[in-house]
Amino acid sequence: MIDKLLDYFKKESLPYPLALYRIGFGILVMFSLSRFALNGWIESLYLEPDFHFSYYGFSWVKPIGIYTYFIFLICFTSALFVTIGYKYRYAIILLFLSFTYIELMDKTTYLNHYYLISCISFLMIFLPCASFFALDSKKNIKIPQWTIDSLKFLIIIVYIYAGLAKINSDWLLHAQPLKIWLRAKYSIPIIGETLLQKEFSYYLFSWGGMIYDCIIPFLLLYKRTRYFAFFMVIAFHIMTRILFPPIGMFPYIMIFSCIIFFDSGIHKKILDFIRSILKLRVKNDQKFNSDSISFKKYRFIAPILSLFFILQIISPARSIFYPGELFWTEQGYRFSWRVMLIEKAGYTTFKVVDNSSNKFQVIDNMEFLTPFQEKQMSFQPDMILEYAHYLGATFEKRGFKDVSVYADSYVTLNGRPSKRFIDPKVDLYKQKNDLMHKKWIIPMKDDIKSLL
């Protein structure tokens, strides 16, 4: 067994897949950042708001005024360097750090695929992606097979968890939230007024999505089904892009990432194609020498990557340790590949009380938050708490004494009638902002049966 494992880690492969992945990944990140900047989102999401929602333990990560552009510039430049494979190791470390910094600046903008980009770029720090087709590459050497497989493994984890998350009674038995979402897509040509208005199609899409996520990794791994699987990948993700435009770059990242499952021959062809288009003169790549990567190097990489993957496997399931309905409390909801899973909206207002004089102020959220922040805050308990603390502190500065903050909050989940969300008698200013179970969330009466 151990021998087999050791043998596996000695197995080598041609370097084409990682070279292509490096190039494509760098381009996708550059494209993402450009799109982000051109849409004016740097200003509207990071520069205009007065207040930013932080992740637990990362409250020190904030936009830095006008220098925020600089972080985006660093990120873009490092992605460019990654693409051309120049000073790759530094570039990918910088890419990981700057992108993750951007992601951590404000919780409001949390997206699963930002997290995915962080995870992939972290993993790529330890992979020899610039050994070939890169300005860095000096000689033609083979790369360890496990380095390619580690990327596959990450993609598999994403799909499997996304699939398992869909195994719940709302998704499968009520076809929610797809029923709400698809019905509202009546302006999509051809299918909008027809297929998308049919009851059966909501179930078809729900079950199809669940089955797709759960089995696609295996169809990709298995050689005989690989082409079919990749066709499915394209069809599925393009469909999500058409149906849900706000999903942004996610489909492209997934489609591109799935190319990694193909044999190195395919990668070579694509690289040859790139070469012929760009008329690049690259060294003869017919022959690759075996590279005896020293085990010293592994001693450093192995524990880090083991830990990384153990975390990747465990952390999406952490929600099972929290009592209450996950979709309602969202404790352990993020960083778990729960993509497009719930339709949730809330209405939350706050009252700040000066207990020394019984003076009070009901907050107009528009004074402190952007509409987007207000929308996101209104149904996510951790954001409600963080905002309540901010309000308390702000009013202490304005002269309130012995301050309490109360929330008046209603939330609707997957089309259920809206219900009171936060215990209105609990002084949120006195509640600790940590990762423990939040007892002041009023439990949802309905029970959503789910696997995770």
């Binding site: 009520h174 302006s187 027809t194 297929l195 690989r226 770059m249 909206a345």
Partner: protein, 374 residues
Amino acid sequence: MINNRFYSLIFSFIFLFSCSEDNSTPASSDNYDRKELLSNLVNNIIIPAHQNFNNQLQLFESTVNSFNDDRSISNLEMIQDQFIVTYRAWQYIEMFNIGYAEEIYYASKMNIYPANTTRILENINSDNVDLDGNSNQFSAQGFPAIDYLLFGVAENNIQILDIYSIDNNSTFTYLNLLVSKMIENTDAVIDYWDTNRQDFINSTGNTSSSSLNMLANDFVYYYEKGLRANKIGIPAGVWSGEIPQNVEAYYKSDISKILAIEGLQACINFFKGIHFGESQINGEGLYDYLAYLDDTNYSDSSMFIGLQDDILDSFDNSMIKLEQLNNNFALQIETDNIKMLEAYDSIQQGVVRLKTNMLSILGISVDYYDADGD
């Protein structure tokens, strides 16, 4: 190897075709006709309500003209009475902050209260007033300013008449200016609706700029801000202390209740799709659209059943609460503010349903956030 690839390609194409076959199943007639909904809202509610308002406004102008010719108590009372009728008619169009109305801040220029009396007096004494100059002028024009000029500039009508003496015509000149400004703005807004009526009805998509999205957003916004906050919440001190002088029509505050009731009635009629005017014909409204989307049409799941009736119930409850209040909200707040706060709470229940449930089920986002989401 090649064989396998070949087969999987074939398989893929078969899958593709079987998919597209699915897609092309003929359309059945069970789809909701959004055009009919929009056409009812525009042709039978929005445009008639604007026309009615315009008629009342012109009558108001004629009473002002008669008063100009003969500054008598009876002519002053004629203006005052017509003011109330016109103000009530306004309640049926304030929520339609769309197109040209939005562009020129029509609603803000018509009804931002409390009136800024300092600025009004400044304007009266100034030769050159630009009411469109900046947003500080919003509260120095429109109904609240005229309310002040007709009821608030002095203790009683005899004294008010003194203010409008021929010798010092500046107050009357300002009143006249405000009226002609209201007419100018209203004409332009009605022009917009006449010109864009059909385009507006034809815009049946579901994007931030399509008609139903804008109407639904404006409706919810009016219910939350125009009705709940401005008419009840702010004067009743929901946000900070009680401010009775912030009721609508403060200087004629015994009409503050009827104005609020008209505002709520406008919301109910819009929601149900009831034609404006005497006929009270019940056409297509958001109520009917929600009924179409009601889950009972799809399955026996109990997820969202009867939201449309739930919303109507909450409107009816709010109406009952409003009816119980004093005609004069300022007086109500000073004597028994609890009742006022109860009315607020009742309206608030409607806000929650409209803003979370209704928009969620209609698939309409609360205004427009330009950002990705997954």
